[in-house]
Symmetry: C2
Subunit: 136 residues, 2 copies
DNA sequence: GTCAGTGCAAACCCTTTGCAGAAAG
DNA sequence: CTTTCTGCAAAGGGTTTGCACTGAC
């Protein structure tokens, strides 16, 4: 994804395209992937850029708020940020930490229950948890 | 649930029924519920008992390993332990932190995708995320 | 008496925060 | 110039760990 389309994407989502945000977005949107904050930090700084930890966290939080990425909560120890925002679910290997997308069409949810009063739906997460065969 | 059935339950799951474990189990299995480690700690100690934080964490981890409770990972800031181990899913209000059970029969998953090689399924979590109406 | 379990406090790790300096418009 | 963003380092909060003490059998 080239720089100008990144900038356009950020502006479309009411995000000021600063240099750090552009660099982080370039990492995230290079492909559909799931990265932790630390992985983003490493990746950005391996490109020669220098973005601080605080800015990575701020930016990922901002991107999530604005709908550019989706937080994936599958492991209590860290949050993953998913650059694929199309409807899909996840398969998580708790032994390896590997997180895979599953096309939403592969899982059909028949009928959602009626929600309690005063709440609005945000989304539905489906997580298929697996382990490597040998392990416990 | 009376003390003797708690002890039987622990022994059935290869867990030595120590006093602290019995107290924690009595809290957990008083009803189907979702408690964080901190909530268990408070609840246990309000009963006049004294169980240390380390033991609460150790015990909850042990119970989860042995299948007595189920970890529910919906919020990056803390893990909930669910004393209802029958098949069901969850509804989570991220504004209030409220976690509710949803009967598995209310959601039907049509067909699971084939798993990658070398992995075995552990389970499928479905989380319906909601917010309180007023909020963002 | 032996081994597993417990408790305390310190260590850990991811994440957030306060605040001064830098950059964007 | 004004406002927003960034970076540093320190603080925060849930969880884990090391190790000596206690309890179970």
């Amino acid at each position: 994804m080239e720089k100008q389309s990144i900038i356009d994407m950020l502006e479309d989502h009411d995000i000021q395209p600063t240099q750090q945000r552009i660099e982080i977005a370039q990492i995230l949107f290079a492909q559909d992937q799931h990265l932790s904050a630390e992985q983003v930090l490493n990746a950005v700084n391996q490109l020669g850029a220098t973005v601080s930890k605080a800015t990575v966290y701020n930016t990922l939080g901002l991107f999530a708020d604005k709908g550019l990425v989706r937080q994936v909560i599958v492991d209590p120890s860290r949050v993953f940020y998913d650059s694929n925002t199309s409807e899909h679910h996840h398969l998580y290997n708790s032994d390896t930490g590997m997180l895979m997308d599953i096309d939403a069409r592969q899982i059909s949810i028949q009928h959602l229950p009626e929600l309690p009063e005063g709440v609005v739906a945000e989304g539905v997460d489906v997580i298929i948890r697996v382990r490597s065969q040998a392990s416990a």
